[in-house]
């Protein structure tokens, strides 16, 4: 992370994992700002201008359900992972695990 030369590669690698992390975290309903903080503390630092478009896309694809909460002074949009989203999260989790295992195997072979 301290090597700016590799920032592009790191960003590319992380992009897909943010989808997974968001789907997992939103199993309990949450809204944008809260999710940003949760992601950061869970080890998935994300920019606001990345997260909001992502939430919108996932909602369009039916992976997230949303609801406006008007109880407070300011309306907030709450998101919750749908059944489709849960299935996607399961597949993505398996895939990440498979990639981690494959990467580990590569490292071992070199030793």
């Amino acid at each position: 992370m301290n090597d700016t030369e590799f920032d592009g590669h790191l960003q590319e690698l992380r992009r897909g994992t943010i989808v997974l992390a968001s789907l997992m975290l939103l199993r309990t309903p949450g809204y944008g700002y809260g999710l940003l903080e949760q992601l950061a503390s869970a080890g998935f630092p994300t920019d606001a201008n990345t997260l909001y478009p992502l939430l919108r896309r996932l909602e369009k694809q039916g992976c997230l359900e949303s609801e406006w909460n008007t109880d407070e002074a300011r309306p907030r949009k709450f998101y919750r992972t749908s059944d489709v989203g849960l299935r996607l999260a399961t597949i993505l989790t398996q895939e990440v695990a498979a990639i981690a295992a494959a990467t580990a195997a590569l490292t071992e072979r070199e030793d």
């Binding site: 700002y33 920019d47 606001a48 478009p53 919108r56 300011r74």
Partner: protein, 334 residues
């Protein structure tokens, strides 16, 4: 929020303008909530509203870019899906179209008996215009394809059969046969023209080609030279610099000699010209008068013929060098 100069409101307005009307209200409401929930914690931590809004807005980034990411609109003119097809088509058109346009302009200016300066100026102007148009319209078509999300197959889709053939660069028997047959047809046509004539004259045939020894000698000399060249090329199997140079010299000599014959009036049979003028009668005379500025009907035909006499050798020369170039670029594997 009453301050119309607030960063958040201005940002909202700027993003809103970049959104399609259909989803604008919904997205703006969402964005307003997103901005607010980012701004408020900052104010709670002691930043001024102005400061906080400025900070948040700068994190969201350029309004058009952010609007594009919200609606999945591409941020490029021609993206990776069409780039290769776009480049291939553009390259092809940038070869074909300028050559045709410049050729047509040149011919038109020559017929109009324009001065060298006028011809040069006209050709340059057309060349620049054509290049700009080809680049612009080609790119516009791909821009529209990209935006309309076209996914259908186009004629530009690639398949392995489109790979340039390596065999083309070798000069084989088919090339030799084609050259010799073409030359035989030329000689046949010359003899037919002399003995039987191409035009029904109702009496003795009037050949198109001037039946004087000079014209025939020059043309036959080039027929023989071309035949020798074709045979040498076949024996050598492939183009070389020496062959390309020989081909260029031959073509240039042919263009110069045939043009000299044409200009001195030795190429086309004067008897034929008289015959056509006579047979054409009143109407033909009027046409002659109308086109007097361009040297009359035969003047125009002469220019077109001369244009071809120079144009084909140029094409022949370019073809030779191109084949050599292709051979060179493929050489490491050969």
């Amino acid at each position: 929020m009453t301050d119309t100069n607030a960063y958040a409101d201005r940002y909202l307005e700027a993003v809103s303008r970049a959104l399609p009307a259909a989803s604008r209200a919904e997205i703006v409401a969402e964005l307003e909530a997103s901005l607010a929930e980012q701004v408020e914690p900052r104010i709670a931590q002691g930043e001024s509203r102005d400061e906080a809004e400025r900070h948040v807005v700068s994190e969201f980034g350029e309004p058009i870019a952010y609007a594009s990411s919200l609606i999945d609109r591409p941020m490029w003119l021609v993206g990776p899906r069409y780039y290769a097809a776009w480049l291939r088509l553009l390259r092809l058109l940038l070869i074909i179209v300028p050559i045709c346009a410049v050729g047509a302009t040149l011919l038109g200016q020559l017929i109009a008996r324009a001065s060298v300066g006028e011809i040069f100026g006209g050709v340059i102007a057309v060349l620049i215009g054509v290049i700009v148009h080809v680049c612009f319209w080609t790119t516009l078509v791909f821009f529209i394809l990209e935006r309309t999300g076209s996914t259908g197959d186009t004629i530009l889709d690639w398949d392995p059969d489109r790979l340039p053939k390596a065999a083309e660069i070798r000069s084989g028997r088919p090339d030799l046969i084609a050259s010799l047959v073409f030359l035989a047809i030329v000689v046949g046509a010359m003899l037919w023209d002399l003995l039987l004539g191409f035009f029904p004259t109702g009496g003795t045939p009037i050949p198109i080609l001037n039946p004087v020894p000079v014209t025939w000698a020059v043309l036959l000399l080039f027929v023989v030279a071309e035949a020798v060249f074709a045979i040498v090329l076949y024996l050598r199997r492939r183009w070389s610099t020496a062959l390309a140079v020989a081909n260029t010299v031959l073509a240039a000599a042919f263009a110069a000699a045939s043009l000299a014959l044409l200009i001195s009036g030795a190429l086309v049979n004067p008897a034929l010209i008289d015959f056509i003028a006579e047979a054409g009668g009143e109407g033909f005379a009027q046409g002659q008068l109308a086109s007097a500025g361009q040297g009359g009907v035969f003047g125009i035909l002469g220019v077109i013929l001369g244009f071809c006499l120079v144009g084909f050798p140029i094409w022949d020369v370019v073809d030779g060098w191109l084949k050599l170039h292709r051979l060179r670029s493929a050489a490491p594997r050969a």
